[in-house]
Amino acid sequence: MKQLSVGALLLALIAWPVSAQTPAAARPAVPRTSDGKPDLNGVWQALTTADWDLQDHAARLGVPAGQGVVEGGEIPYKPAALAQKQENFKKRATADPEAKCFLLGVPRTMYAPYPFQIVQSPAYIAIFSEYAHTTRSVFMNSEHPPGPITWFMGDSRGRWEGDTLVVDVKYFTDQTWLDRAGDFHGEDLHVVERYTLVTPDHIQYEATLEDPQVFTRPWKINLVLYRRKERNVRVLEYECYAYAEEEQARRGELGPK
């Protein structure tokens, strides 16, 4: 109760700008940085099953059932791309970039079943995932460099629209997938992410995906990122490919004959 009342007092003392959609009275107080932005610092993790399959799916061995995160339910593939997705699904055990320990790309890194830490400064917001020491650098209020460039994690440029962090990401490879079910994209993928701190411990995460080579129209996913609240919690390491090579080397399968 004490914390709540201090938060309410702070809110009353300082008239923060509020977005048009939500009346100020209905908005829970969220922590703010010294420059007045919502404070996204902390360790976060998605709890959806989106990494197994972005769309509605029943359980199967090793896969928890889940309700999809795609607005409207279906990913609007072009016919040839839908055939490719189905082919990917058949080969997913080995063809999924995650099975090869590759970087997962964007937005998949944000809903993969690993925690990530956000470190927020006014000019530079870093996102550090436990999976394969993935880093995302979100450079604020700046332009994408001139292309052509392709990156596994794309090039991220951020800006604040009111209380929402909007991140524009492009310059991708075609080597990452969107989930373990074979959903995919091409090099022309363009992602716009929107991070809104709706309570001190929840980020509403929305991403719009556009790729005219693969999809018939832009489409959206929508999910919640939860703050990890355990005492002294930190992002640890899942050094996927290092463990794989170490295993092989210990078995004598890697190295001079």
Binding site: V119, T135, P145, G147, T173, N232, R234, E245, P256
Partner: protein, 312 residues
């Protein structure tokens, strides 16, 4: 994108599946040139010659005492929370991509190096007698873990190829290293280290401020990383202390002391300048492993490093 290979300096690894931006190509070319120039100077017996940094000689043994004096008098710019502001992109320019950390004349494989070690005064890593020849054995028989795209470990993160970005938030001091995209997010909130049985490539780092100096204490390290391309190594008993102090607006004095009773006779310390990159420099993504096509070639005559006690 550039890769550090066994028996090589920083070099271009062509199979990376991208069209590299001209800026990256230029940056890479300039890095290679600087390494080569350093080698030429050293061949004349003078060691790499570099311009002064922050008004101090750039080589570690001279930079260290000079920078200490200057740092004590400098009033650093501050973040809103009062901590010295070190946000930005930083270049460990005298470390030559962590090819070597001791004096080295340079040869066809590695560039010249003036020792980064300021204590002990002989500039050499104080290995226990049983490990006197281990570095050479590593060089001869093992692949630098960076060459297999493993993360750098600590403290090598700070002086690995291509530089680091520092991002500061209240109670967090973070590094992004461009080489193989590694990071550290260091709590500065007096929180305790994690349990001793959790071993990490990047360890568990906890920081605190002593005046204008960030002091970082790192434990929980594994023994799967090296300290240089040339094969300097440590065990899983390594305990690292690092100190970051602004000398002027564009220079950090970086000091790191390594304690590892399994491998070293005594604690030893490296010191070097971190120089701010030109305005607008961004530390970018390097998906090292994803484009690693040279491992099979390296494995023809070198082994994966599995720590000090590999399976026989």
């Amino acid at each position: 994108m550039p890769r550090v290979q066994k028996k090589g300096t920083v070099m271009s690894n062509q199979p990376f599946p991208v069209s590299v931006a001209p800026a990256v190509a230029i940056a890479l070319a300039s890095l290679l040139v600087s390494v080569q120039v350093a080698g030429q100077d050293a061949a004349r017996g003078a060691g790499p010659r570099r311009p002064p940094v922050a008004g101090c000689p750039s080589v570690s043994r001279d930079f260290f005492p000079c920078a200490k004096v200057k740092a004590a008098a400098f009033k650093p710019p501050r973040n809103p929370d009062g901590t010295p502001n070190m946000n930005g992109a930083w270049n460990p320019s005298t470390a030559n991509g962590s090819q070597n950390i001791e004096d080295y004349p340079g040869d066809q494989f590695l560039g010249a190096q003036v020792s980064l070690i300021v204590d002990p005064p002989d500039g050499k890593v104080p290995y226990l007698p049983q490990y006197a020849n281990k570095r050479q054995d590593n060089w001869d028989h093992y692949i630098d873990p960076l060459g297999t795209c493993y993360v750098t470990g600590v403290p090598r993160q700070v002086f690995a190829p291509r530089g680091i970005a520092i991002i500061q938030a209240p109670n967090v001091f973070a590094f992004v290293g461009e080489f193989a995209h590694q990071y550290r997010a260091i709590p500065t909130d007096n929180s305790p280290h994690i349990g001793n049985s959790i071993r990490l490539f990047m360890g568990d780092s906890r920081g605190h401020w002593e005046g204008n100096t960030l002091v970082v204490d790192t434990t929980n390290l594994n023994d799967l990383t090296w300290l240089s391309i040339s094969g300097h190594f440590h065990s899983d008993a390594l305990h690292v202390t690092e100190r970051f102090t602004l000398v002027d607006a564009d220079t950090i004095l970086y000091e790191t002391t390594l304690v590892d009773p399994k491998v070293f006779r005594q604690p030893w310390t490296m010191a070097m300048p971190l120089v701010r990159f030109e305005k607008g420099h961004e530390v970018w993504e390097e998906p090292c492993f994803e484009s690693d096509h040279d491992l099979p070639i390296m494995l023809q005559d070198h082994k994966i490093w599995l720590g000090l006690d590999p399976p026989q």
